[in-house]
Subunit: 233 residues, 8 copies
């Protein structure tokens, strides 16, 4: 376990993660002060991170990133900010399909993360099963993708429908879209976990970040890209 | 509230229900002794019930019904027994579609109840969305039905798919089929309640009886059959 | 599945839904920008929707609808806005009965939706069972209705009482009215799902929209109105 | 806190409870060996308990009570056994009303406990609101009772209906009768806790014992009986 | 069920409730407009209510009551307002004991309601079991009371301790005081429902109103006051 | 959607699934009679399935498979039976690591499924973090695998530890191993879903079958194997 | 992480744990075959474990232990078996107090584990707060103990009462004793977690083993015993 | 129970607690007015409390403390304020280790409380298992500590990893850090309760105060400090 990190006192920045796992540490903004965010970002960039991604970031958090990286980009609605300095050559294709327009922020988080890790991403929005013919034009892309990410709230029935049509691995992202018995995404989560289609695996509610991470890994490997982590313990 | 019932001490048999609501009282067997079941059935038949339906009935319960009604029929797997003495002329069409073979007992309960209330019932089993092309041959029946009942466990995605294809009212019956995060039917229940297709209403988990009751009412009315309950308070 | 829709990029507007199911797609405002709302509404109206209904809409959302449809009406308390351009001739009667004054917004959502789909609606407010004699004057209307919608929070006991008195199908709408162990409508939901009266089916918590949709379908069919969806797959 | 008890090693029998609270300690049989049950019962009887009540008792447990008290009575279905040696002169009236025949065991537990504490008990079974006219003949008894106990499973709507009709305190006992979304009595419990009728208080699921205890206290006090516990700390 | 009420359209005011049950209808302010609140209060007062109690009332709601009843009193912290015009002569004693200072608003709601129904109320605050000797000085009052109300959040252990010391009926009111695994009062609720002391019954979380209602009924009956509701159905 | 299936009345066997998705339909034994199981298996084999896997199978269910396929193998403890007739040449490596010996049945289900789909599988049992040095010898295999499956009950902390060490996609399978607050696998499920290591996706509790399916897809693609599903809609 | 373990294929026996943490690995019997249990026990004993404890063990599991260790002792009711070969000299005092007789098995598990780790244990059974004077005689022992373990089901109010009286650390063990809203120990768990007495920490439901482990560590340290684990990583 | 307290009407200040348990009563600010907070603090200080700690305190609450104790210190982010007047000589070592930077407020609450009770505290932040090598530098401190406190949100896997490495008692504090299926700390709570490492006990979600209290007691005893509470009942 003799691997590097940077100790800032309030944080131990895992500067080894990208070498070890092919994906740099990201920064979850909630519960962190702008100063802490800036400090962590600076440490990651100084250590040569290919990208830095800040999630769940309100305006002050996003501004903090810009103070240490003027080249930072952002997406207000998705509460994201990111710096892209050495993104790997894209390899593999991730297709993201969402149930409704209201799932847009989560779609975006998955997309940005997957692109920063070096994958091509194609997005089909609002293809929910209430009008299942809307899925038809997306099918060709879904079938040629190396990994399919399904983003859906409410009952998330789209996961099973897509899971029964494609041969690629499917990653489900339940969203908190909806009200009442959606229980903040629990219904969508349970629905995806118990999908009648085999081959669907699920990440946390609204976790576009996690879905983007695993999808990029799957897609890059399928496209033959070299993986990180070759070293020993 | 001056309407008749028969007081057996352990039960107040609502012999007025059929006149009032067009559907005779049924007997939920769990928690009742064979003697109690026989007594209630006898009172209902003596009062002229068009049918008596015993649900959740183990072998002794079903035998108890036969002691007072030798013409009783039964379905062991669905834990049902029933007597049909004056079933109304069928009116309207109920289509039942199920997600998997394992939902068979609930399908059967819905079917028997709807038929006893005077409706034609057509059943399509195992049309779950994991292989959605299997739904195709059922579509014509689903579209001509006056009410569609969707019976499904696991994630119950079938409810939304069907709910987005037909114009008739859809009644969802979540089933306890599955394991793990199906939580005894809770996932299917939540999924149906939060269906992204409008026009789906839901009954209790495994409640074929309830679904059969409301579906028959809807179908008979759509077919122009006269309804019970014309009288005053 | 060769049916039309309009692809706006952020949304695939299901312009076929009205032809297919007799009810135009509605717009759930939460999570959508005013621009997206306006775009979807415009597409629906351009495609000839008989009505457009916007639910869960705050002031900017409602204003967005007015920019593309100056004839839009609205109800602030129910967070609704709608455009009615070709509402079908009313057929069938839906009776809505609510448990308390505080359920008013949900009642209104159900009423507007059902009326936009072409049904007559009659409303009885605040007839909860804590003073059950207040239900008496509503009974005649409940008994002549083609479908009864019960809107209730707290313990939602009204659903069972009404469900035991009428012969028409009953649709329950649990509301989030209450505090403490009402758990945002869960108690009402469970109560309605386990109603001791057969023939009650339930929609999502606070889902006046869903109740209005299925109730209108049931009522119009019972009144002999022609149904949509005659076409093939 | 200088009050007596008997230490048996495996149990500290609270022989003071009857003097302190007017109700002797009862024995919850689950998790206790027959020897432990016999030992506790013996200690209570030796200390002059007016009665000993054994709840949740299977056959060996009930037999254990008979070994130390040949005058013990029992009710197999309600899993009860009891010894009545000095039951106080009845004072006050408790009326128990139940939703269905299947709630019989819980009704019985409440009845036996209340009678052993010295109250008159009157029982009306199977008066659920699905056929609300069946409640009519019970109303006179409910209105003259000093305390009303409502025992109901499923949605337990009966609690609110009764709670809106009578002026006496109402104690609700939710039961585990039902299946699916009744969740072992949770729906009934939540329904009773959130009753739209003020003045209803609730005990644990299936807890006829607790209901009988508090109901007897209320009724005896209303009838002017002298209460225990006059002493100091 | 031929009993009076006043139909305001948005509300059916149960003006008969006081005659029927000895306690006037109260007004739950949430979800009601100031106009609706004023209208309901006016109808109750016009019908001769002995008091009108408005619960869960923010400033505009409380102001609405004052517009129709300048003699209204209020308690901002407890979000209460009330009019007392013909409160019955106090009979019986209710003792309220609370676990902590933070439970003050709920204590106050119970107190005001019980006093408005005609009972003497004595309050002991902050007697939680973390320092159980603080309960000592309250014991004499608890033992002479006709009904004891225990108001407690967190683990609500006070209910069992008090429930094991007094002979009067105990009504538990779980409160939402606390954080984390208190889950908004659920822990306190479950704790009180499963109290190891027999004779404790429970009302909804934070429901001082309900506790005050049943406690006053119990106490007045124990003191020999005449009860309402003598009339027929 | 013009793809083949075989209609047995009680089941619509999706004989197209292998061509469409590269994995034949499996048979979930619970809720199916031996006759139904035999019928479905026969239809799959007749249609040329490369393998047939029967999960959650008790002895009669496993015997039913043998009646139609004498070459069936089985694992009693894992409740599995399977027929392997045309398993694809292994491609890619799946590493399965489990938290404890008691997770053995789930490990086995994942292993059999992944092998039947044409992957090499290597298993490391009982490497839970309570003695984290036991994970050391497994690390080399975990790092060279194309997909890592973590099977763990209790708090499933192993998922995060492994998820932070490897660069391959990680699939978590929470198990129901444990008691008390493990809640049948819910704790492990939540733990895996909220893993602090990015790149972990999760399947249903005890769902070795689902994990084996997606892991094999990921591993085969990473190894450059040709995927099914090249055809059009 | 270069520490020893024994690899049995189905298990990696952590023979280092006692040196590292002062407590040998125990064997959780559920989900393990008798052969596996015997194998693990043998490996532990061969490596010089001071004791081997088998928990949740049915008769065949306990017999398996005896086959490799004829000197094994057992407690059928607590489902325990154990071998004591080099138990450390007792140091420190653990006092266990339980709420009721039915909690006996959990008390026993905590006691055996703590004694095997080298601590003196004193037990006070059935001191629940429903009769709080029964706690009095135990107070002296509770106050002189180095660690107090409170074992209680139902509402577990005993934890707060004891937690407010003693100065030693208190470990709470919620038990599954009870029915209805005890929810298998959840009520007791939540109650202990939200105890109004500071200084109470909690282990899993029915987890006497965990409580015994931490209590022994606390007590031995307080008594000045030398701790294990002095070595480096 | 003849021990002192100060009755302020709204509060019964347990001025005996420090003598009895070695830790002064703290003040939970939520639900208390600034006046009440000032009053309680004043009473505690007047009675000679070694320290006064105010938790969950917003700005007005913290200001209230300063009005009666100008020497009060505070930490805005941790919502704490405290007065330290006679803190005992530090004895024993508590090591706090946290999973992430966002857990900082809870870490601080535990630290302040433990220091006020007279213990040395050392803190290691952000050592979560997603980069487990970051834990390495903390191990020496964790191993020499008398008690280890693990503060972690998300899946809280750190508790098991640490629990398997050290020989001291481990106290887990689950935090509400995270979103989605973290459910406000429930996932972390369940994970810690079901830790596969024996010897971990858990306090309430975000309860740094409780953890600091028990950790200080454990550490001081291990260091041989004299304990409070020697007196009789």
């Amino acid at each position: 376990m003799d691997r590097p990190f940077v100790d800032l006192g309030f944080a131990r920045v895992d500067t080894d993660r990208e070498a070890r796992q092919g994906a740099p540490e990201a920064i979850f903004a909630e519960g962190k002060s702008p100063e802490e965010i800036a400090g962590i970002a600076e440490a990651l960039l100084a250590a040569g991170a290919s990208s830095v991604l800040l999630t769940r970031a309100d305006a002050p958090a996003r501004a903090a990133l810009r103070t240490v990286a003027p080249d930072a980009q952002e997406d207000e609605r998705a509460r994201l900010a990111w710096v892209a300095r050495g993104v790997p050559e894209p390899a593999g294709l991730v297709a993201i399909v969402s149930g409704g327009t209201s799932d847009g922020a989560v779609v975006r988080e998955a997309q940005v993360r997957a692109e920063l890790l070096g994958t091509e991403v194609i997005v089909h929005r609002d293809a929910g099963v209430a009008g299942i013919h809307r899925l038809e034009p997306a099918l060709e892309d879904l079938r040629r993708a190396d990994c399919v990410v399904v983003v859906a709230g409410w009952d998330a029935a789209l996961a099973s429908v897509v899971g029964g049509l494609v041969a690629a691995p499917v990653i489900g992202v339940p969203t908190s879209t909806g009200y009442g018995a959606t229980f903040g995404g629990v219904s969508a989560l349970l629905s995806m976990l118990t999908s009648c289609a085999a081959g669907v695996a699920v990440v946390n509610i609204d976790d576009g970040f996690g879905a983007g991470t695993i999808a990029a890994r799957i897609a890059r490997a399928a496209a033959g890209a070299t993986r990180a982590g070759g070293g020993g313990a």
